[in-house]
């Protein structure tokens, strides 16, 4: 039975990786930017499926949400701006890049032969720090999902850096494209025949459900796959869908540009603020065991929410809750900022053309 399951999993791996190769070749050969972007989305979806087979649920979730979801929308917004047709290159120009790609690819394939086997318990990644995370997490953090414990507690500083990177990306896009439309957006065209009634009704039904799902992913993150990054992107999908169906003007009226900007900054502040509170209470930066001052610590009854060895994990629970909330704020607001930037620029150009 186990043998059959192993063989089936091997066959599934081979099939998914083959699909990745085929989609990759199709992307390289495609002459249409639109087709390439849609194929990139398919590539991400297939790799997400492959990551599920590899039991990396959190990574698969991120790949599906970011790769197949939001980046496709952003890239589509980008080609709205460039409107580039296929470019003809002299074939001799492609020789140096091809040689470079072949060289790097060959080196990578050579490096693969030196990697430990998949799932090898004695491999460096599994033997040292990985094993201690698995053993210590229930005692030290008290969170069932070890990925969340590693991401937000053990490596909280690293995650703060990632959040700042996301924030910086949003600022970069906003500086180049603007935070939103600068020209006064023209009123939405009067619907002559109501073509999009099905779309509008479905979007109205879906937008609250999407937001509800985002909050489920957010607050379920320490129990199952998910967390601030995935939830932030899913939450950002709701206003983006609203803008796509009802028009950017309506969305900006509902969620103003300055609100989005403030929330993006607030997230980073919240994350870093949790770290500073820990310092003020005598701990290290982002050491959530010191999140509460000693006077509050004393009031929490021992044995509540935790094993008897360690009185409780309240500091860890609340620390992870707040920093994940910060991640949610920054990621979702940054995604909306980026979308506003691209869509607003397109609206500006439309305005200028008309």
């Amino acid at each position: 039975m186990n043998d059959i399951a192993l063989q089936a999993s091997f066959a599934l791996n081979v099939a998914l990786l083959l699909m990745l190769v085929i989609v990759g070749i199709a992307i390289a050969r495609s002459r249409s930017l639109l087709a390439s972007i849609l194929l990139l989305g398919i590539y991400s979806l297939v790799s997400a499926a492959w990551l599920v087979v590899m039991d990396a649920a959190d990574v698969a979730f991120t790949e599906a949400v970011v790769g197949a979801g939001i980046s496709t929308v952003v890239l589509l917004g980008a080609i709205l701006l460039v409107r580039a047709g296929p470019v003809r290159h002299d074939w001799r120009m492609t020789i140096p890049p091809a040689l470079l790609v072949l060289g790097v690819g060959g080196l990578l394939i050579y490096a693969v032969t030196g990697l430990p086997e998949f799932g090898d318990p004695a491999s460096p990644a599994n033997a040292h720090v990985g094993r201690s995370y698995l053993i210590e997490t229930p005692k030290e953090i008290g969170v069932p999902n070890v990925v969340t414990a590693v991401l937000s507690s053990y490596r909280g500083f690293d995650t703060l850096g990632e959040t700042v990177v996301v924030f910086a990306a949003g600022i970069g896009v906003a500086l180049m494209l603007g935070f939103g439309p600068r020209s006064a957006l023209s009123p939405p065209p009067v619907a002559t025949g109501d073509h999009h009634v099905v779309l509008r009704v479905t979007a109205k039904l879906l937008i609250p459900l999407i937001m509800l799902y985002a909050f489920y992913v957010q607050f379920h993150g320490d129990l199952g796959a998910g967390g601030g990054f995935q939830a932030g992107v899913i939450l950002a999908v709701a206003p983006i869908l609203h803008a796509l169906v009802f028009g950017l003007r309506e969305t900006i009226e509902a969620i103003p540009v300055h609100a989005v900007r403030s929330v993006a900054a607030l997230g980073v502040l919240l994350f870093a603020g949790v770290g500073l509170v820990c310092i003020l209470n005598g701990g290290d930066f982002l050491d959530y065991d010191y999140l509460f001052p000693p006077s509050v610590e004393a009031m929490i009854p021992p044995g509540l929410m935790g094993d008897p060895d360690h009185a409780h994990h309240w500091g860890q629970h609340f620390g992870i809750f707040f920093i994940e909330l910060g991640v949610l704020f920054t990621v979702s607001a940054t995604m909306v900022t980026i979308f506003y930037g691209f869509a607003g620029r397109a609206a500006d150009e439309q305005e200028a053309a008309s």
């Binding site: 199709a26 050969r29 495609s30 249409s32 639109l34 087709a35 194929l39 073509h195 999009h196 099905v198 779309l199 479905t202 039904l205 879906l206 459900l209």
Partner: protein, 130 residues
């Protein structure tokens, strides 16, 4: 009893995947945008329904069944709406159906039918396929 349910569930999952595969063949083989959308959306919802029912039978009456039900509701909401939006956009862009009452062709074989007036290069919906 459990084995029988597993067997029926497995058969339904395979039937659903085959139906989805058939939809893929339809998208490649059908003559115009509208029939292709038709092939993709119908088999998508039908195939997903079969797969989800099959998975529900395999999982038994657990929390997973409820989640599969949510997935089914989501698929039934989004796929037809997406097909509608796609067909709407195609119609707005001026695609005419190659079969049906919009155009009478002498050839009975629909796949041999040519459009009355060749539109732009991207007008036949085929150039979008990679």
């Amino acid at each position: 009893m459990v084995d029988v349910l597993h067997l029926i569930g497995g058969v339904l999952v395979v039937a659903g995947t085959l139906l989805t595969l058939l939809g893929g063949v339809g998208v490649m083989r059908f003559p115009d945008v509208y029939t292709r959308i038709h092939a993709a959306s119908l088999t998508d919802t039908g195939g997903a329904t079969l797969v989800l029912i099959g998975l529900g039978l395999i999982s038994g009456l657990t929390l997973e069944t409820l989640k599969l039900g949510f997935v089914w509701v989501f698929v039934m909401l989004t796929t037809p709406a997406a097909a509608n939006a796609l067909a709407n956009a195609a119609f707005s862009a001026g695609h005419t159906p190659r079969i049906g009452t919009f155009q009478i062709t002498k050839s009975a074989d629909a796949s041999q039918a040519k459009p009355e007036t060749p539109r732009t290069a991207s007008g036949d919906g085929k150039s979008g396929a990679p």
